[in-house]
């Protein structure tokens, strides 16, 4: 009995972990109490948990992403705090390992991924003039699988211990010999479950974009964000199965004593590194391409000019997506594959800079002769261009394999990838969030606070990461929990810590802005407050759950259909209102995801009876779904007309 419970204990507890545990417990109790007190369980179940509305699913992704941004952010501040002074004892080595591992995983997979998936969900159907995604219920399932994977990963430090072998989880470090707690089991299984959800998203959105575009919308008339979503989802479908296999093998090595990545009986630890990065490198582009899409929308809107070089923008994305699969070895130039292989991957890596450069120039040419209006989203974009270019240039430095022997595993690398991911992905997501906020919630975020946030964030960013380039070139290794004063790194690390603190302030300002604007912003805004260009602004605000009363027809319009209708008077909505067919909500997908969670948890702790129970539950849900007859329902034309009248009175578009 004692042994049974011993496996759930934290192997390396500390005061910080106990505080975090207590806050989680009290937080959960408070949340449950509030929901119960206001009798919200039914509302949550009917309107959110079981929803098949792509807009609501998008918002659930958004909430998850923001919560995880703060969880990963706390990890980041802890890391910088530990390194702020030499020989610090704030975190011990093991705890530091766990924190940088979870920081990496949470930020990439449970923050950035749901953030872009939020945009896929919320924007893509609106931009292509569709009523929903191709598979609404699969969409709900995809969210809950992702959510359960996220949940499983996040309970690791409360039950059984966090993963501690880095977000790349290299073997043999991640094998049973060196990672003795169940932490790495959590990593393998949580990522597997969340990855399944992501793969479903990929299939769903490829089908949606290929098959459900409004009449007249040819591929080369799609809005730039939709293009980026299509390419990113294609990369998802081709890259995520590789991760699936790698994680399955890693799980088997840990639980069933197989020999894929061991150092005995023929096992090959480098196979993990290869498989991981065959997925991991395209993953970078899964994140950055939609970010580019958002910046394209923002820049063309606030430069008041159509996007320069639309076709080259599209082709550069296609080229990037192909190259993204041909560069994975640059993540381990020093691990002994020889000069010839390194040279090949060095060249392909540098080649990616070309299409990326094309995009940068296209944005600059869009700005040139544009009537620039410096709103908050535009300010994010303006800060993005120089900062991201700096990150890109240091990327080319890292791409030189011979020189990489100097930079490898130093802070220089850490500075580089934060320099592309933060101004690239995070700025894009925040720009897009500010830009589409009125479309989602019917009020604008405060511009003054918003612009101040961008400046604070950029100042914090520069202070936090530029010093790392210098300490990295001087040889400060990454993933080391401390250093001696004699290295001379202390001052620059203190600067980094101050920068991290300033960035924290900027994220708190975002929360404050949301709260402040919720209280004070006027609600009588039109459905097109930014004077924007795409079809997504042609619906009412708030968007009716059927999106468009009449399916738009963009035969006569360009890729900026709504702009054409405003300026040239192009008719978008032809024909009359008809009955609309809508899918029913479903709770079965949520139940199935819970079984996934149960099975996953059981696998982490090798509790086989519980695992079998979970798997049978999953199969039962699939069987139920297979036999279920669900025809959806119709909204009748007169109901739509009444709805439209109500919206029109509130000052909607059209």
């Amino acid at each position: 009995m004692k042994e049974f419970f011993a496996q759930f204990a934290i192997p390396h507890p500390s005061l910080l972990i106990y505080i975090a545990m207590a806050s989680i417990v009290f937080g959960t109790i408070a949340l449950v109490a509030v929901v119960t007190y206001f009798k919200l369980w039914g509302y949550l179940w009917r309107e959110w948990i079981t929803t098949v509305d792509h807009k609501k699913i998008g918002i659930m992704y958004l909430i998850t992403a923001l919560v995880m941004l703060f969880r990963g952010g706390v990890d980041a501040v802890m890391l910088r705090m530990q390194l702020a002074v030499p020989e610090n004892t704030f975190l011990e080595a093991q705890h530091y390992n766990e924190v940088f591992t979870t920081h990496g995983v949470v930020m990439i997979l449970f923050m950035a991924m749901p953030f872009i998936t939020f945009f896929f969900n919320f924007l893509v159907p609106l931009q292509i003039g569709a009523r929903d995604v191709a598979f609404p219920r699969l969409n709900n399932l995809a969210f809950w699988l992702f959510f359960m994977g996220m949940g499983l990963f996040n309970i690791s430090f409360v039950i059984g211990g966090s993963p501690d072998s880095g977000w790349t989880s290299y073997f043999p470090l991640a094998g049973n010999e060196f990672s003795t707690s169940v932490g790495t089991n959590y990593y393998m299984i949580a990522l597997q479950i969340a990855g399944l959800g992501t793969l479903m998203t990929g299939i769903n959105f490829i089908t949606t974009i290929m098959k459900m575009r409004a009449p007249g919308m040819t591929l080369f008339k799609m809005p730039m964000f939709t293009w980026s979503a299509l390419i990113a989802n294609l990369i998802i479908v081709f890259a995520f199965p590789v991760l699936t296999v790698a994680l399955a093998m890693g799980t088997m090595d840990r639980l069933f004593a197989t020999n894929f990545f061991t150092t005995v009986n023929g096992g090959m630890d480098m196979l993990w590194a290869n498989l991981f990065w065959v997925w991991g490198h395209p993953e970078v582009y899964i994140l950055i391409l939609p970010a580019f899409g958002i910046f394209s929308e923002v820049i063309s809107t606030f430069a008041r000019r159509n996007l320069y070089g639309y076709t080259s923008m599209v082709w550069s994305m296609i080229v990037i997506s192909v190259f993204s699969f041909a560069v994975w070895t640059h993540h381990f130039f020093t691990m002994g594959q020889g000069a010839f292989t390194n040279s090949i991957f060095s060249i392909t890596t540098m080649a990616i800079a070309i299409p990326t450069g094309v995009k940068i120039f296209n944005w600059l040419f869009t700005l040139y002769k544009g009537k620039i209006e410096m709103t908050t989203p535009m300010l994010y974009a303006m800060h993005f261009i120089p900062l991201f270019t700096l990150g890109g240039v240091t990327g080319v430095m890292l791409a030189m394999s011979a020189a990489d022997y100097q930079y490898h595993n130093t802070m220089f690398l850490v500075a580089h990838f934060h320099n592309v991911i933060i101004p690239g992905v995070v700025y894009a997501m925040l720009a897009g969030l500010t830009f589409y906020w009125p479309k989602m919630f019917g009020f604008m975020l405060n511009e003054k606070i918003g612009k101040a946030t961008v400046w604070v964030m950029s100042i914090g960013f520069v202070l936090a990461f530029i010093p790392m380039y210098i300490t990295g070139l001087d040889g400060q290794a990454r993933r080391m929990y401390t250093y001696s004063d004699a290295t001379g790194f202390s001052f620059l690390n203190m600067v980094s810590f101050v920068g991290a603190g300033i960035m924290t302030v900027s994220f708190i300002m975002i929360v404050w802005n949301i709260w402040y604007s919720f209280k004070n912003s006027p609600r009588d805004i039109s459905s097109d407050p930014w004077n924007a260009r795409g079809l997504e602004w042609a619906t009412h605000t708030p968007i009716p759950h059927y999106n468009f009363a009449i399916t738009p027809d963009v035969t006569d319009a360009s890729e900026e259909a709504f702009w054409d209708s405003k300026k040239k008077g192009t008719q978008l909505f032809k024909g009359k209102i008809e009955d609309i067919h809508m899918p029913n909500n479903s709770g079965q997908t949520f139940v199935m995801s819970v079984f996934f969670f149960i099975a996953g948890f059981a696998f982490v702790f090798s509790m086989w009876y519980l695992a079998i129970f979970g798997l049978i539950g999953i199969l039962a849900c699939m069987a139920y779904r297979s036999l279920e007859d669900d025809h959806g329902y119709h909204i009748h034309a007169h109901e739509v007309e009444e709805d439209e009248k109500k919206h029109a009175q509130k000052g909607g578009a059209k």
Binding site: T207, F238, V245, M249, A257, T258, N259, L271, S626
Partner: protein
């Protein structure tokens, strides 16, 4: 359900079915990557046998030939089932589906025997990198066949209960794509794992 178009085969007659069939092709793209990764790993680890046996030492041609024969035949019979569906014969569709699944079950039975044999002769999952990847690759395919057997039985039940309509036809067609795909994967397994391993 959408509008029904009578000029195309039943499985393509509704908008919803068109989406589902297209989506399934995309899913098969992901499956190609899944098995592609397994094959790439197999070729990487095939000679890394440690102290365990090599492929040439453990592979036996007879069960493999039986497996190949029944699975290829089942791919033919699922084709006949789709043909029967197109000409609107419920009875023939069900019969050919049942034959397909029975052949699939025989395949699975032989594969289970084969696995038992491997474990018995000291080529179990944890013996070496080679046996790990061999049994994982075969096992992943076998797991797909098992899922197919469950899925196919549910579809037979629905055709039997509800007859051939756009919904059941769409499901049957998608299932047939899945089944053919498993056959294609098996051809690769047969050629590059067994035949190459025995040479």
């Amino acid at each position: 359900m959408g509008k029904v178009n009578n000029n195309v085969p039943l499985e393509y007659s509704t908008e919803e079915n068109n989406l589902k069939i297209f989506g399934f092709w995309v899913f098969l793209g992901a499956e190609i990557m899944l098995f592609g990764t397994l094959f790439a790993s197999y070729f990487t680890l095939v000679d890394r046998t440690g102290a365990g046996p090599t492929g040439a030492e453990i592979f036996e041609i007879t069960p493999v030939l039986i497996e190949t024969f029944v699975l290829l035949t089942s791919s033919f019979t699922i084709g006949l089932a789709i043909h029967a569906m197109r000409i609107g014969s419920k009875k023939a569709t069900i019969s050919f589906m049942v034959i397909t699944l029975l052949l699939g079950a025989v395949f699975l039975g032989v594969e289970i025997y084969e696995f038992k044999h491997y474990v018995h002769i000291g080529a179990g999952l944890s013996v070496s990198a080679f046996t790990s990847i061999l049994l994982t690759t075969l096992g992943t395919h076998g797991l797909h066949v098992t899922m197919g057997l469950c899925w196919g039985s549910f579809i037979i039940f629905q055709i039997w209960k509800r007859g051939l309509n756009s919904v059941t036809a769409g499901k049957t067609f998608v299932f047939s794509l899945y089944w053919h795909f498993l056959d294609v994967v098996w051809i690769f397994i047969f050629s590059f794992i067994y035949l190459k391993g025995m040479m």
